[in-house]
């Protein structure tokens, strides 16, 4: 493999992890610098279902969304804002739609920047349209269309490029519903990482050519699927501990984007970004209590602990009593950022960080392992196995189990069920093959026959 894998931590100490601060801030857009000592809201939105009927209607919808957000920001006095446009599939399928929308949004942002000096930037997240009804074809025509879409938005005003890549999803879905830890390691740790690496090499060269930022990926299709199926405290669908193990492994997958050249800020829904930041020193986006419009989670405050951008994940554009939904949520997010920024200015940033972290630390096993100290420890394990995707995934998973077990000797209460599943997961992980070769070989056997849509050539295997 040609990429250089991380073999050490960019942060020397977990105490240095803090919102609004990253070791390698990212300059982008109109005077914005991410992770350079302040946090910024990243506002997300979904067009109304019938707005995607044709290009003109969709461009108009995004223009309204953009103007609404910019207007509210200056009305309340916020110094900076990021907009994230997650492509609806029509936009990626027709790359010129994405381009026209990026152009239109950027024009409005420039107008506000000229008039008010507000710092801002535009992220475009291209849709991963590489699957269809019959099969998944990760490296064929649909992939070329994705690259074409990146090319077009990058040259039309998007400042940051992202994607939520699907690689490994077919085997993951199969495995997670069967408590199959081997399949989880294979799908997330190997297949996912290989796919991420493959596409991010291409995205990074497009970004370089267009002088924009290759921002980062997320294990949304895997770790968030497990987290959402696991649900709230009283949902009994998936073990929350197993979902935590998936999260730890997913950090190894998302890391591959940075090893291929991405420089942050990673995508909002990558809860594993806490680990990524500790390893890479790049800024991250996160979502939590300001994204209840899109989903419920068990670490609404903690997600702020070391965020650089603070996001609402997604809200359907619509009118509410307090304005349009993007205005309402954009304002709420920005007040959260204002709180963090004030704490930084007043020299009490770390106190606030700890309050945010500890308010969720014992809410759920996943929150526990993502607390910045534990996130750092998982990062250490990952960087300790730089040349072996298999080992770093497996060891990250085992580390998560160990952290949860040791936590349960303190304030982290575990139900009997959770205790049993974490024990079982740990045993399953420990009993896996010794080396990558034999592991991959065995997995190819199993999943080629068990999972209809799995095709090894999608991963160059």
């Amino acid at each position: 493999m040609s990429v250089k894998r991380y073999s050490s931590m960019e942060y020397d100490n977990f105490e240095d992890l803090l919102f609004g601060h990253s070791k390698y801030p990212v300059k982008t857009g109109l005077d914005l610098e991410i992770g350079a000592g302040y946090t910024t809201a990243e506002v997300n939105y979904a067009p109304r279902p019938d707005a995607a009927e044709n290009k003109a209607k969709l461009v108009n919808e995004y223009e309204r969304i953009t103007r609404d957000i910019m207007e509210r920001m200056v009305q309340v006095g916020f110094p900076s804002v990021v907009l994230e446009t997650e492509h609806v599939q029509q936009m990626t399928h027709n790359p010129e739609w994405g381009a026209d929308i990026a152009t239109a949004q950027k024009a409005i942002m420039e107008e506000y920047h000229d008039e008010y000096g507000i710092k801002c930037a535009l992220r475009h997240t291209v849709g991963d349209v590489r699957g269809d009804r019959e099969s998944i074809d990760l490296r064929g025509d649909a992939y070329s269309r994705i690259l074409e879409s990146f090319e077009q938005v990058a040259s039309s005003g998007a400042d940051m490029l992202s994607i939520e890549s699907l690689g490994g999803k077919e085997v993951f879905d199969h495995s997670i519903l069967r408590n199959d830890m081997r399949g989880v390691i294979f799908s997330v740790g190997i297949l996912g990482a290989l796919d991420v690496e493959y596409i991010w090499k291409d995205i990074c060269s497009i970004a370089k050519k267009n002088k924009v930022v290759p921002a980062g990926d997320t294990a949304c299709a895997q770790a968030n699927t497990a987290m959402f199926v696991a649900g709230g405290l009283l949902d009994f669908k998936l073990s929350h501990s197993v979902a935590s193990v998936v999260r730890a492994i997913s950090a190894s997958r998302s890391l591959a984007a940075y090893e291929a050249g991405a420089i942050g800020p990673g995508k909002d829904c990558g809860y594993e970004n806490n680990i990524i930041k500790a390893i890479t020193g790049y800024p991250i986006s996160q979502e939590g209590k300001g994204s209840t419009c899109a989903h419920s989670d068990l670490m609404g405050n903690m997600a702020m602990q070391c965020c650089d951008l603070w996001s609402n994940e997604s809200v359907e554009y619509r009118g509410d009593f307090g304005g349009t939904t993007v205005q309402c949520w954009g304002e709420t997010l920005s007040y959260d950022c204002s709180m963090m920024n004030t704490a930084l200015e007043a020299g009490v940033g770390k106190t606030l960080r700890d309050v945010l972290m500890v308010s969720d630390r014992y809410r759920d096993p996943q929150a526990f392992i993502l607390s910045y100290d534990n996130a750092y420890r998982i990062g250490e394990i990952i960087t300790a196995h730089p040349d072996d995707l298999y080992l770093r995934g497996k060891e990250a998973g085992i580390k998560a189990c160990e952290l949860i077990e040791s936590g349960s000797e303190g304030f982290l209460a575990l139900s009997k069920f959770e205790k049993a599943t974490i024990k079982k997961a740990q045993n399953d992980l420990k009993s896996l093959d010794e080396d990558m070769e034999s592991f991959i070989c065995n997995c190819l056997d199993t999943y080629s026959s068990e999972v209809e849509t799995f095709n090894a050539s999608n991963y160059g295997l």
């Binding site: 302040y38 309204r64 609404d68 200056v74 009305q75 006095g77 916020f78 110094p79 008039e115 008010y116 000096g117 507000i118 554009y317 619509r318 009118g319 509410d320 009593f321 349009t324 204002s338 920024n341 004030t342 200015e345 007043a346 009490v348």
Partner: protein
């Protein structure tokens, strides 16, 4: 107590964009040049009713047709006020005080003339049934009158049938309904269908804290309005021939 210099955490954009000129300085450049007329326009701007009437009297004495002064002096002064309000140089109370002076002036001109003055158009203004919050309607009514419209103010908590009856009787170019309470929104639906049933196809402009564009746009005659200051502009657009669809395109915010 923690205290910090806020420059890095918030920006007072209002101060950033504040004009260097005072409203008075800007207004000076906009008043009509004829000295008599200018005096009237200026006293409308200043909201000085006595001065308005005195200025009008003097101008009429010099031989000018009283009715012509409504457009040329009073409305001209009010237009300066509206322009400065749109620029953010004047505030609502300024507009209201000027409008009151202008209305006094119009009354005076009418008294001095035997002919009938034609307003720009009739508009019905009301607060929906079940709602007694009328500050929004008050603002809209004043702004419309200040722009030369003849406003039939039905008041607050107005029953649907009364709105429809007034529309039949007065043949307005539009209706303006406001609502602050969410549970009163249903009245818009009834007004819409009863007007349609009577073949009255005038725009019903709706606004207020409880009103959302999505809700209003569900009704054939509904035109959503977020800003009171837009209502006179919508009326002007109707005079310019815009239909409901075009009004929505032009004035819908979201």
């Amino acid at each position: 107590m923690i205290d910090i210099n806020p420059k890095n955490i918030l920006i007072r954009y209002n101060i950033l964009v504040e004009s260097d000129m005072t409203p008075e300085e800007v207004a000076e450049q906009l008043f009509p040049t004829d000295p008599h007329i200018r005096r009237v326009a200026k006293s409308v701007f200043e909201g000085d009713e006595d001065e308005v009437v005195a200025g009008l009297q003097k101008t009429i004495d010099s031989g000018v047709d009283p009715l012509s002064l409504i457009n040329n002096a009073l409305m001209a002064g009010m237009e300066v006020v509206s322009t400065l309000y749109d620029y953010g140089l004047l505030y609502l109370p300024d507009v209201i005080i000027s409008a009151q002076a202008m209305i006094e002036g119009i009354e005076y001109c009418k008294e001095q003339s035997k002919q009938v003055h034609e307003s720009k158009g009739k508009i019905i203004s009301y607060v929906v049934e079940g709602d007694i919050h009328d500050i929004g309607k008050t603002i809209v009514t004043v702004l419309l009158r200040a722009n030369g419209y003849d406003v039939i103010d039905l008041g607050k908590d107005v029953p649907v049938e009364e709105v429809v009856a007034a529309a039949k009787r007065e043949k307005p170019i539009m209706l303006s309904g406001t609502a602050l309470m969410t549970t009163t929104m249903h009245a818009f639906k009834d007004v819409n269908s009863r007007l349609l049933a009577s073949d009255i196809n005038v725009p019903v402009v709706c606004g207020g804290g409880a009103v959302t564009q999505d809700f209003i746009s569900d009704y054939d005659l509904g035109v959503y309005c977020e800003e009171a200051a837009d209502v006179p502009k919508i009326a002007d657009s109707i005079l310019h021939g815009l239909n409901i669809r075009k009004l929505r395109d032009t004035f819908h915010k979201h």
